[in-house]
Each structure stands twice: as structure tokens, then as C-alpha cells.
């Protein structure tokens, strides 16, 4: 199938400032949101798809493992995106 771009489906959960800023009505606190993305998308692409800003202090987890903002995602991945931490 040359020329047809493959898609992946991932589950995304947002916390911290990202949760405050998400305006997508499909997003739920309990289950996050399912997103269809181009193959080899990254956590940074997720933010772009959801119209959210990116800051270098953000933290990402893919399937419960720490990941960089440029990690390549696979179909079925569960991604958690968090904003920076501070003192309590």
C-alpha cells in the first residue's frame, strides 16, 4: 500500500497545567482521550493535536515508562503528559 500513511491509536491522559488547558470536549478525567495519530508520532505531536503548548519542563510516560518528548509512539500506547513539578 505504497503512499498510504499508517495511523496509530493511542490513549492520552493529561495532568497539571495541561489538564487545566484542555478544551476538547471528548476528554474525560477518568479515561483521558483516544487519539488517532500518524505512525511514528511523538508526545510533542500529541500536544499539537490537542492544541496544547509544549514546555521543556514537561514530563511524559509511555506505558508507565519515562519517555522523552520526541519518543516514537506505537499503536495501543498509553501516554501520560504532565507539567513541571515544584515544592510542596
Amino acid at each position: 500500500m505504497l503512499g498510504k500513511k499508517q495511523q496509530i491509536k493511542v490513549n492520552v491522559e493529561l495532568f497539571g497545567g495541561l489538564y487545566v488547558k484542555i478544551s476538547n470536549e471528548e476528554y474525560s478525567f477518568e479515561s483521558g482521550i483516544e487519539l488517532n495519530l500518524a505512525d511514528k508520532s511523538t508526545p510533542k505531536d500529541i500536544l499539537k493535536a490537542l492544541d496544547l503548548p509544549f514546555f521543556k519542563s514537561m514530563i511524559f510516560f509511555v506505558n508507565e515508562e519515562r519517555a522523552s518528548a520526541n519518543a516514537r509512539l506505537k499503536n495501543g500506547d498509553k501516554i501520560i503528559c504532565l507539567t513541571a513539578a515544584s515544592g510542596g
Binding site: 495532568f15 487545566v20 478525567f29 504532565l82 513539578a85 510542596g88
Partner: protein, 615 residues
Amino acid sequence: MKTIEAVNNKVVEIDLTSGTIDVITVAENDRRQYLGGKGLALKMIYDRIKPGIDPLSAENILVLMSGPTTGTAAPTGGRYVIAAKSPLTGIFATSYLGGHFGVNLKRAGYDGVIIHGKAEIPSYINITNEGLSIEDASSLWGLDTYELQEKQMEKGHWAVIGPAGENLVRYAAVVSGNRIAGRCGMGAVMGSKNLKGLVANGKGRVVAKNTEGFKKATKIAQNKVKAHENTGVNMVELGTAQNVMIYGTSGIMPVKNYRKPYFDKIKNISAEKIRDEHFIKNHGCFGCSIKCGRLGDFDGKKRVSPEYETIALLGSNLEIDELPKIAEWNETLNRLGMDSISAGNTIGFAMELNEKGMLKSDLEFGKTGNIDSILEKIAYRKGLGDDLAEGVKRLSDKYGGKEFAIHVKGLELAAYDPRGCTGQGLGYATANCGATHLSGATHSVEVGSYLHSHGTRGKAHMVKMMQDVTDVANSSIFCIQAQYPFLEENPTYRNTPKFILKFVMRYLPAISAATIELSDFCSLVSGILGYEINHKEYYKIGERIFNLERLMNCREGIDSSDDTLPQRLLGEELIAGAPPIELGKMMMKYYKLRGWDNNGQPKPTTLERLDIAVH
């Protein structure tokens, strides 16, 4: 309105035993070397206290000290420090809080109060622009902190203890409004002096020496606080509880007395949940634009919403996911006047003792039923509460379980498990007062992956730098929340790609430490003082204060054997395959950077370099 200089150099010295009140002038050299807040409070104690005294005796000295910024328009300029020898740890301690007492003390014309002795009857200290007096507090003794402040509101703004302080609970707090100086038992020291509280009703207008310079610096600093992602948005919207999901997901939030990395019901106790289901409004300390505090509706009751540390220690650490209960316990702790960090750790330790049959009780992980009553019993030292009022270390001395007693130098850990941020472990092990998160806090740079969460690279430099910066910030005084925008909202940090910052922090830590951005701290403080303090001088003040406190603690018997972590954190794997904390390796490097000998004592050359006068 009377104008009062932000650095007035007048400190009140009170002897409760004799009832004498003197006003002393802060020596210019002390002000230049120790600035105010933490630094000046410790210097005042060092010059006056005898080594080896019992912290709960009349010989202990309690100091409440404002900083140059207190009462000014500087960001977070509402804070003050309470310092004394701690009854929980037996070494020196400082505890910080906002609210309005410090501001009113300054407005009354005093930078601080030094309290000696013990009153014959329950007393309080009344502070106005007309002067000070020691008053009879017999009718106030026994009241909880909220009750007292409500009933006596017309007198001014209070710093008070509750029943826990009166009954000498070793982690009793001092409460001002609904802000708490929780750590290290400053409330018990106050109680041991028969002192229910202090009330200040100052009327003056606090001004900086260099009005124009300060105004300019304040505008720049306030804009940074508003522009920063954390203090401008996240902290405003979610408060400190935003850390629940960050640290809970990172395996750093304590679970079941530090036995598990993750709490499966974490979302139930998150800031996001509070925002969606409980939030009523923000509240904050004097002059603070962040307003990280919040009021919430919890099961129909309007309560202060719990902070991150409280949620972690009374929530995940006890395997409890009911936010309304945690909010209720938080209010109970505030009213009784107790530190939620030490209380949560102590209850968690007692739960594990019970589980192992070492101290039978009705306290069980995951069960909320008996927490209400145990908090009351601790405050009034009744039954099992009398043992729990002693804290984790003494509880383990009596009943065993030292291998899972989570404290450093007798102070229970703040809510960051260092197995997921090993630099924080070094910070806990070397912080002067024990396992505080307010000295050498590296958890955020480790979780943010600037430094590797595990391993040792760059950690010693980062911990030392953060400790020194925190000490001078706590002497200025700036809240820890304001420190992030001051450090990060500058073109160098903002425009440098993350991989370069990571490289410098990990492989060129000396450069990272030397180039830390302190210009806002310096400009604000210079404007208030009326003379310039540059980056190098400002940093050196922090380093001096850290070493003075170390020197004071060494005089009390502290040495390298005390600079360690709980056995569980050094010996038990939290996440399968994760490397252990290499504390010894980091410690060697740290001592060298500090200029301490192998036994952890500051070398004479170090004390000389920092102009610390030893006596």
C-alpha cells in the same frame, strides 16, 4: 501613617521568666553577613544558647524573625521564620510560614522577637506600635488555633499553638491564620515556655531604602512570577497538590510507609479531582499573587484544601483515597496545631508496627475509621497517642522497627521517596534539620530529567547549590514557589535547549552552579537594604548560613554518621531492578565541595573563608 523601614534593625528580646522586655539593635555586620530570616535567627541563637540544653527547658531560645522582604511588595513578601533547638531532633531547626503575623510585626516596628525563659502562667505577647507587653493567657489555654484566632481577632494577627503545643507533642506546630509552621516542633517549644502565642497589630507602612530601585525590581520579579508556567498558571489553578499526579506517576510519592512505588487510587486524591469536585476559591498569604492555598467544599463542609505533603502522608502513605476525610484530618491537625508530615509518617509507622505485631493497635492501612481519634489522642497525649506524640524515631527506640522507621536525624521524611530521585536523598541526609524538602530540594530537576533520577552524576553540586540558595532565600525571605520563576524566567534558561541544560547539569555541574541566575533575588534585597549585594555575595550568605547551622549542630554532637537515610530506603528495592541509592559516593563528593572533613565537620579554613566567628 508612620513609615517603617523594611530593615528597621530593632529586635525585641523578652525573658518570660523575669518578665523583662528589651529592644536591641541588630549589628550592621550581622545584617550584612546573615541578612535576616533564617540567617539572623540562627546567629541570634548561636550567640546566646549554651550547647547541650534540653529543647523543652526554659534555657531554649525561640526566635521569630522577619526577612528584609517581609511586609514589602516583593513577591511572597509575607513570610517569617520560627527558629529554636528542636524537641523532635535535638538539633537546630527553622520553620517557615506566611499569613499576616510577620507583616504586622514589621509594621509595628520590629524585625523579630527573641524569647527566653518560661512564663509562670499561660501567657501571650502583645505587639503594637506603642510597645510590647506580656499578657495573661489563662482563659485562652486549651483553645484550638482557629477558635482562639476567631475569638481574639480584634487584637490583631496571631501566631499561636493549639493543644498539641500545650501538651508538648514533639511535632507541634505554630499556626497563623490557616498557614502552618509545621516542621520540627516549634509549637512544643512555645508550649514549654507557657506561651500560647503572639499577636501583632502593626500600623506602619513598610518602605525600602532605595524606593525606586526596589519598585523597579519588584515589577520585573512580579512579571516573572505571573509569566512562569508554574506560578502563573499551574499553582494558581491546582495548588501544591498538583504534585500528586507528578510524583505519584513517577513512583516518588510515599505509599504504605514507603513500601510501594505506586498507589492505584492516586487519581482520587489528585489536585485535578479537587479542582473538579471541591474547589471554592483560592486564598494566599500577604501580598502573594500566586495564592496557592485553596478553600474547598468537602462533604458540605467548607475547609482548607490539603496541600501535597498532607495528601501524600495522610493519603497514599496510609493507602487512603478519600479526599473529604483527608481534608477533615488536615483541619483537625491545623486546629490542634500539629505537623501533617510528621503525623502522617508516625501513623504510617504505627500501622506497620501493628501489622507486624510489634505494637498492637487499631490502626490499619487503608482504613479511615480510627484516624480522627488518634489525632486527638496524640494532641492530648492520651493512651497510644502519648507514644505517637514522640514521633517515629522515639517510637522505634521503644518498640523496634528501626529498619522501617522513616526519618533522618529524627525528622520524618517529606513526601518524596529518594529511591526515585537520589539527589533528594543526599539532600535529606545532609539538610541541617533532618529530612526536610525545603533544603537542597532536587526532586524537581530529577523528575524533570535534567539530572538522571538514579545515579550520582551532578548530584553533589546540585544539592549544595540548592541548599545554599534556599538558605539565603529563606533569609530574605522568599517563598520556595517564587524561587522557581526567579531561577528560570530568564533568557538564558528559557532559550537554551533542554539537552544542553541536561549536559551542563550532569557533566559540568560546577559551571551550572556558578551561573545560576540570582539577579532578581539580589535586586529586590539590594533595593530594600539600600546597598548593592551582588550574585557572589548573595550566594556566599547562603553558604555561610548553612555552615553556621552545621557548626551549631556539630556542637550538639552531629557528625558524618548522622548524614544518612533510613535503612528501608537504602536497602529495600522499590521498583524491581532500580539501582540502590549510592549515598556514600555522593557524600564524599559533597563533603569535599562543602569544605568539611571526613567526619562531617566544617574545616577551620572553610569557616575562615566564610567569615564565621566561632565561639
